[in-house]
């Protein structure tokens, strides 16, 4: 592989991830579809319709959505800066969609059945639903109980439109009740609202606003780093071994070096590539933390653990990849053998959520000692807000090292036999047999 190609290959993934992190949340924002249609309100209390009408005015809905958008942008990483300014305005328009217009018609109580019937009709008139406000919604009934409302909607009505209607109903009912008691709504709102200031993290180098999302991003970042560096170098080990075998270069090389030397050379060489990837990406990460003045949030010892767990996981997975590569004739045949290995690598991602939620649960502890998942689990736990006890970390490292040595042993045996085997691709049972024989 040429040097230029290598540099490009190493730089493209972080660019893609950055793009995903910055663009994805924008695309994910609640984009209310442009729906317009009629809503029949049957107000049995007689005090609510005006409030519903006010709440569901197009301008009011647009204003609420804009406020929600700005809140969402501020809580995504790097989003705060982007949402202000010209770029933010464009993004905002893009996610907000067209304005929704809901036309409200009032009906007497007796018209309920007919209105419901009309919801099922398909005559070109768009009817969204029927909102029935109960008679005791504003003033308590004879038994002193306050009522609410019922909402009937047509099939497949967007859930966000439904929420808008329900919020509108609730808001209008509360408003009417407050007014019925002779109180001032604004004053009540002011009384029950307390500002929620962000906490401030105090570190040796100063104080800064706490980033609540950072606690989740750090384990994610470490696990992702480990995954990328291990998988990309493992994959490369697999393909180069298969290439040497299928092009029959193998025996020429074997005339100069022994199979074990070849395996060792391959694993060490690819490890250097994996480390280059790891160092490049973590430097990018650290530099961006420095630029945000958040370097204090990473304990340098975490980087040492990342390095150790990379070595362990890489040698384990790389050995297995090389063993598989040596035993098949072409990439296609490697697929069936690769499946269980890829699964092993994917499992930690399924565990990501439970482990990062409860870093010291029994489940997380057990997974920390099962190679090759232990590295992921341990990194998630180490970088979490409640790190595991030291003895667990070191036990996990010891278990991982044993697994790495075992995988290397297995690979060296399979390698020796597999290199010159052409013909039917083996399964795992055959590989184990080879390892025993060699």
């Amino acid at each position: 592989m040429s040097t230029k190609g290598f540099i490009i290959a190493i730089m493209v993934p972080p660019l893609i991830y950055t793009a995903i992190i910055t663009v994805f949340p924008r695309l994910m924002n609640n984009r209310v579809p442009a729906v317009s249609g009629g809503l029949v309100v049957i107000d049995q209390s007689g005090h609510v319709t005006a409030g519903v009408r006010r709440y569901l005015e197009p301008q009011a809905m647009a204003a609420r959505r804009e406020a929600a958008f700005n809140r969402a942008m501020e809580s995504t990483p790097m989003g705060g800066a982007a949402s202000s300014g010209a770029g933010g305005a464009v993004a905002q328009r893009a996610v907000m969609g067209e304005l929704t217009t809901i036309e409200i018609t009032e009906s007497p109580a007796g018209a309920l059945e007919q209105a419901k019937q009309q919801l099922t009709r398909d005559d070109g008139v768009r009817r969204l639903g029927v909102l029935v406000i109960h008679p005791n919604a504003v003033a308590p009934n004879a038994e002193g109980k306050l009522g609410a409302y019922a909402l009937f909607v047509r099939r497949n009505l967007d859930i966000r439109i439904q929420n808008e209607i329900r919020n509108g109903a609730a808001e209008a009912i509360v408003d009417a009740r407050v007014r019925a008691e002779g109180l001032d709504r604004k004053r009540i709102d002011a009384l029950i609202t307390v500002a929620r200031p962000a906490s401030i993290t105090v570190t040796a180098s100063g104080e800064s606003a706490t980033r609540p999302d950072f606690g989740q991003l750090l384990p994610m970042g470490f696990a992702l780093l480990l995954m990328i560096s291990v998988m990309s170098s493992g994959q490369y080990l697999l393909t180069t071994t298969i290439e040497e075998k299928s092009s029959r270069t193998m025996e020429v090389i074997l005339s100069a070096v022994s199979p074990f030397e070849l395996l060792t050379g391959k694993i060490l060489g690819q490890m250097a590539v994996g480390l280059t990837i790891l160092v490049t990406y973590s430097s990018i990460g650290i530099l961006s933390l420095v630029s945000m003045a958040m370097l204090d949030l990473i304990d340098p010892s975490l980087l040492v653990y990342l390095f150790i767990f990379f070595l362990i996981t890489y040698v384990t997975m790389g050995s297995l990849m090389a063993a598989i590569g040596s035993s098949v004739n072409e990439l296609r045949e490697a697929q069936s053998l690769m499946t269980p290995i890829t699964l092993l690598m994917m499992i930690p991602w399924l565990f990501w959520f439970p482990i990062s939620r409860e870093p010291n649960s029994l489940f997380a502890t057990v997974v920390s000692f099962i190679p090759p998942m232990n590295a992921f689990a341990m990194l998630l736990r180490l970088t979490s807000t409640s790190p595991p006890p030291m003895w667990q970390v070191w036990l996990s490292i010891v278990v991982g090292t044993l697994a790495a040595v075992g995988a290397l042993w297995f690979a060296s045996r399979v390698f020796k036999i597999g290199l010159l085997m052409h013909g039917r691709p083996p399964n795992f049972a055959t590989l184990l047999k080879w390892a025993r024989q060699a």
Binding site: E251, L254, S255, S258, L420
Partner: protein, 299 residues
Amino acid sequence: MSLAISLSGVTKTFGSTVAVDSLDLAVPVGALYGFIGPNGAGKTTTLRMIMSILFPDRGELSVLGRPGAIEAKDRIGYLPEERGVYRKMKVGAFLMYMARLKGVKDFSPERAAAWLERLNLPGVQDKKCEELSKGMLQKVQLIAAVLHAPDLLILDEPFSGLDPVNMRLLRELILAEHRRGATVIFSTHVMVHAEEICDHIVMLHQGRKVLDEDLVSVQRRHDPRALIFEPFERGADASALAALDGVDKITRDGSTYRIDLREGADPVRAMRAVAAAVPPSRLEMHRPSLEDIFIGLVT
């Protein structure tokens, strides 16, 4: 006489197939050995075991005084039967890489170019391997096998796929390596090649050694009972020869005759008698081709 290679009782089985069956072999230093035998006789398996690429199930093996080739790989040159190259690599870079693998410290691009020149491939060092024809690649691989001046040179089917000009080139290279003092072993299933250059023949058949002696004695031992005769005068009557003492029968083939001798007859006396009866332009012991011997042994 020190041995470059010695095998004793070496056996290798693949599944239920016995590829090599208790093979004993002693190749002295400086010898030029030919491995012959039909396809599937066990030649490649034997060479791979010598190279420590395969390992025998049973038996002892020593190469250049070591228990296996792994310890002596830098002193061995090997051209495998299944030979490939890194297709995207340039020829010069491939040779440099192989030289480094073999521990040659001072191999330079100039030396690579000189080797390519010598094998009639001038200027290809900057081409990618995939741009070369099969025969050209084979010569590149041959250079990779000899560029570190090995003490032992093992060539598995080196002649396959070469045209006559390149075959001669290869033959000269093999002989030059032999003169330099290298022990050379090569395998072939084309007997003529072995006949042309080897001084010692090992024949394998179904994993067993059926022949292991030097070429001249093989030929002498296998058919001492025929003379090839061509009369000095064209059209001379040679029928009188049939009546000579010790002659069994004569058969004519164009202008030459084949004189078969009776069992136990002395070929030297018979030659004298033939020369006395009809003046010869050519009279020699019939040397059977390896092919004849081969077919005689195998069938």
